[in-house]
Symmetry: C2
Subunit: 212 residues, 2 copies
């Protein structure tokens, strides 16, 4: 069955990005430490068209968690740090000429913009909210899954709208102290079930399934 899924790296103190995000520090100060375990996996290197990386339990898990993700939803901040109306010259985001998604990506924004194709990825800009973005992504994903890319606000909105089915939290042993919280003001009515817990190398993989 087609599901709405998320997998996200988070610090031991609950932040998915550090303080003072900027073009230079897209993940905020200290935020890169959250992804070191992922960079080491063979899956991540393949996604970015490179050789190398290691197999092992974390590689298996990210591969499994990403399988059949046929569409992505992300917040505008995850597309790029530009705010307000889109202005010429249009900035094409963090992801370079060959974004690693290779599936339709739906970007939440308050400002309309024509779709943008870079390499094998097309970004669609959705001005009318998370329900609409997830509905469009479901349509695009067909029998595959929809992956919520982030950031924190987008994940929280998806849960508040009762739309997220599964989340894998990759909890990394580091304190960021401040920044963007993964969970803030979550509704306590959501039923959270722990389905699996796996020890990786320098990361804990916590699998939760949500119902509403």
């Amino acid at each position: 069955m087609s599901k709405v899924k998320c997998q996200i790296s988070v610090s031991a103190d609950g932040f998915l990005a550090g303080p003072n995000q900027s073009e230079e520090h897209g993940l905020g100060e200290g935020g890169d430490a959250l992804h070191e375990w992922a960079f080491k996996t063979r899956f991540f290197q393949e996604m970015h068209g490179r050789e190398g990386g290691e197999g092992g339990v974390s590689d298996d898990l990210v591969r499994e968690a990403s399988a059949n993700s046929n569409a992505v939803v992300m917040g505008r901040n995850m597309f790029g740090p530009v705010r307000g109306p889109w202005t010429e010259p249009l900035w094409n985001g963090w992801w370079g000429d060959e974004p690693p998604f290779r599936v339709p990506v739906f970007v939440l924004t308050h400002h309309e913009r024509e779709p943008l194709t870079l390499g094998e990825t097309t970004f669609h800009f959705v001005p009318d909210g998370i329900e609409s973005a997830v509905a469009q992504a479901r349509e695009a994903a067909g029998n595959g899954h929809v992956h919520i890319g982030g950031g924190g606000e987008t994940i929280q909105e998806t849960i508040r709208a009762g739309l997220l089915d599964e989340i894998v939290i990759n909890q990394v042993p580091v304190f960021l102290g401040d920044g963007v919280r993964l969970f803030d003001g979550m509704p306590s009515s959501v039923k959270v079930e722990q389905t699996r817990v796996v020890q990786g190398d320098g990361v804990a993989h916590l699998f939760y399934s949500l119902s509403y």
Copy 2:
């Protein structure tokens, strides 16, 4: 070697107590859900002088994590909800006539008070801060360990003072939405090492060792 340790139950969104703590809801609204897994263990039932409870991985782990804890440090809020100067009649805390600690307990407070013995537990009231409380607890613990009981502020103060060696986070699949955060404003300079991750029944046990 004698260590300063902590083990604490926390929600998936990082709260160790829910909102609106009161005498009736010592753990705040929804907070009792954090301890359901622990109540089921044989170790917890033994601690409270009762029969029953279940063995298994979580029972083994809490038993191991609590072994040789020969002194406890806690914040005043964990002793009882009374604030300000101690007034007659002196309230003797949450823990009843037979507190389950049975080792010296050092309670952080801004207001001096004579030691209080209830059953096999003596509470000492420490007006001069976390360093002093931990030093006194170390002295009392001899070759055993010091256990930081909580709450959040006390755990955070212990880490900020560079005094906490190990923490076991028992992460429970529930959202509390609001309340007392386990980690808030932690120094990013602390080195956190993940030493073990274990899947319990309705709980994930995350073992971290800290260095400064």
